[in-house]
């Protein structure tokens, strides 16, 4: 049916252009995702021919996976549940041969057929069009009265070969399992790159979350297939005119939980102002490592907790930025402003001995206007240091108590005119 005819039948019909390369990409992504269920994944070709548009196939060898996933029913249920969460439309068929399974899927027969005998009897009455053969062959067969697959299989093979070529008999033999059907299995690429192009521009980052959800889930499937975790991955938002926006998502420990990834992505996306509307999305990752095994003691939940902690810190970092969260470290320096520094939370600290110091330090000493000398409770402590760098200090530190009872850490600047400064609180 062409477009004009379609519009005549249904005026609301919307035309979408078909994009074969991106279909093939999607199939490859699905193959990477399916690798978690089976060690042998075989990727079918997407045909550009209109008639074969619905014939893109992905085969999974499940015989060896049954035990791992707890039986046939469990495996199929898991695969279907995950597939639905990726929101692809699909049909499923289970058969003893590759072409047989594909045929069953196409015909919509949802019965697991495990031997060729049963397969033969099950497909006998199916129309010849269901077979993945060239259209003209099917047409010729139908006009010569061979309408079902059963009739075709009963014909002598050499006659078929003579009339339609040896590839048709080869196909039929492979379908029924009389000869082997070796095909190259899909291998996982060493790096991950997924692309998602939109037909229209997406304005809101809210709307971006839907495709992102799908991409992240596929990515998690890839990681599970590889049995690795990712510590960082890159999201690229492509725009029509301005250069693409890149967002690096980092985790403190390698992980492959799509929900955790999504939480981080959502947090980052809320904080990021995209310069223009988005027309494409890419997810890139090339560094993988083994994730921590999730085993924990019955009594001490330390491992579980440390993972939870890492996740919490990741989320805070994603929202507040790298400078928003840090640890503290003492530095061996007499000058108060140089005797501390921010540190990464995980690093080891040296223990240093300091004299008594206030809990709060002012980032900038505040000049004090003193009308009367306050009550000095302790001091002076002279700190004279730093002549070797630009920040030379000569100060006398005192602890003073104000009339309302608060203890302040003040100093008298000896290098200047003896002004007084407030430098901390004994909170």
């Amino acid at each position: 049916m062409n477009y004009a005819a379609a519009v005549a039948v249904c005026p609301q019909v919307k035309m979408l252009e078909r994009n074969v390369p991106s279909e093939q990409c999607a199939l490859e992504r699905l193959a990477a995702w399916a690798y978690q269920f089976s060690s042998t994944v075989i990727l079918g070709k997407t045909s550009s021919h209109f008639q074969d548009a619905r014939r893109a196939v992905l085969w999974l060898e499940i015989g060896a996976s049954l035990k791992l996933f707890g039986g046939f029913r469990n495996l199929i249920e898991t695969i279907e549940r995950e597939l639905q969460s990726l929101s692809y439309t699909y049909r499923l068929g289970i058969g003893p041969t590759l072409e047989g399974a594909a045929l069953l899927a196409r015909a919509g027969i949802r019965i697991a057929i495990t031997n060729t005998q049963a397969l033969r009897s099950r497909i006998r009455d199916l129309p010849i069009h269901q077979l993945a053969m060239p259209t003209h062959v099917c047409q010729n067969l139908v006009t010569s009265g061979v309408r079902t697959i059963g009739l075709l299989l009963e014909l002598p093979r050499d006659a078929i070969a003579k009339r339609f070529g040896p590839e048709i008999t080869l196909f039929l033999d492979r379908l029924t399992g009389s000869i082997a059907d070796p095909r190259p299995a899909f291998t996982l690429p060493p790096r991950y790159a997924a692309k998602f192009d939109f037909d229209f521009e997406l304005k809101h980052s809210e709307a971006l979350l839907f495709p992102l959800k799908r991409m992240v889930r596929e990515f998690a499937g890839f990681l599970r297939g590889h049995d690795v975790g990712a510590q960082t991955f890159m999201l690229v938002f492509e725009h029509r005119e301005v250069p693409a926006t890149r967002i690096q998502i980092g985790l403190s420990i390698p992980d492959r939980d799509p929900e955790k990834f999504l939480a981080l992505v959502r947090e980052r996306l809320e904080r990021t102002e995209l310069p223009a509307h988005t027309i494409g999305l890419r997810l890139l990752a090339d560094q993988f490592s083994t994730p921590t095994t999730q085993q924990s003691d019955l009594f001490s939940n330390t491992l579980q907790n440390s993972e939870e902690l890492a996740h919490t810190l990741d989320r805070i970092t994603a929202r507040l930025g790298k400078n928003g969260i840090y640890g503290l470290r003492s530095v061996a320096d007499h000058r108060p402003e140089s005797s501390w520094s921010a540190a990464s939370i995980t690093e080891k600290r040296r223990s240093l001995e300091f004299p008594e110091r206030p809990l709060w330090l002012l980032s900038q000493p505040k000049p004090l206007q003193l009308s009367a000398m306050p009550q000095i409770t302790s001091g002076p402590e002279r700190i004279e240091s730093g002549w070797w760098d630009a920040a030379d200090v000569q100060r006398d530190y005192y602890i003073v108590r104000t009339s309302n009872g608060s203890d302040l850490w003040v100093y008298r600047d000896l290098s200047g005119n003896g002004e007084w400064y407030l430098h901390g609180f004994w909170s």
């Binding site: 939940n301 005797s339 008594e356 809990l359 709060w360």
Partner: protein
């Protein structure tokens, strides 16, 4: 951990589904522990602190608890601190800096968000935050987060907040008098509030000694439901204690509560 303890823990796990249930963390300050209804900060709650000014020992008050938490594999977080938390001083108070997380949130919204996230996380034993303003609804939300994460959330608020009501479990107003830091207990869950204790604030400077067993006896007796017997108290006071005056005061208070015999 010895075998008996493990078995005990297993039994508790089977009974309640909770591995360990120390619902109280001692504040490490004797006078305060005695004043609070169960002998310390209740775990899984929000504590509001309303100091009159900065520099009266309002943060030092938490140091014994925070130091102990960091020594027992817990993390602590300081969120939106008013000034720089000075690492040498924190270390002097016994805090393991490896277990301290400082969070700088630019906005009020982020502060409360980070507060909630850290409270919910089971690795954090206590979280201290200095938001500019907090509403009732938000405190209630934080309270739920603290319950979920079994941590203690300390919330510093301006002194004006003392006039408002709040769903926090404990509300303390802090000011100074000539004897030291005066803590007005405006509200505490499990007892009637409205009394005050005074702490010699110079004592807060050093690392607090661990509570001797005698003092713990008193705490247990106080927290039990039935009124403590007088003989029980004699026994406690008989043993050596570094806080004689405090114990005496406590005995007086306990005796005044006993039914006349």
């Amino acid at each position: 951990m010895n075998r008996a303890e493990t078995l005990e823990q297993l039994a508790r796990l089977c009974r309640t589904g909770i591995a360990a249930a120390p619902a109280i963390e001692s504040s490490g300050v004797m006078e305060l522990d005695c004043a609070l209804p169960h002998g310390g900060w209740p775990v899984g709650t929000i504590v509001e602190l309303m100091p009159l000014t900065t520099g009266i020992g309002e943060f030092r008050l938490l140091m014994p608890l925070l130091a102990r938490l960091t020594r027992t594999e817990n993390y602590i977080a300081l969120i939106s601190t008013p000034y720089i938390p000075f690492a040498p001083a924190l270390a002097r108070h016994g805090i393991q800096l490896e277990r301290l997380v400082v969070i700088d949130a630019k906005t009020q919204e982020d502060t409360l968000w980070a507060f909630e996230q850290t409270l919910r996380c089971k690795s954090f034993g206590a979280v201290v935050a200095w938001p500019t303003t907090v509403r009732d609804r938000e405190v209630r939300r934080l309270q739920l987060a603290a319950e979920a994460g079994r941590s203690i959330g300390f919330l510093y608020r301006p002194p004006a907040a003392a006039l408002e009501s709040s769903p926090a479990a404990i509300r303390l107003k802090l000011q100074t008098n000539q004897n030291g830091l005066e803590i007005d207990i405006l509200k505490c869950r499990g007892a009637r509030g409205g009394f005050s204790v005074t702490i010699d604030s110079t004592r807060l400077n050093e690392e607090a000694p661990s509570l001797p067993s005698a003092v713990q006896d008193v705490r247990m007796a106080r927290s039990s439901d039935h009124p403590p017997s007088a003989s029980h108290f004699f026994l406690c006071c008989g043993s050596a204690s570094p806080y004689p005056s405090c114990l005496l005061k406590l005995c007086k208070r306990a005796r005044s509560r006993l039914p006349p015999s």
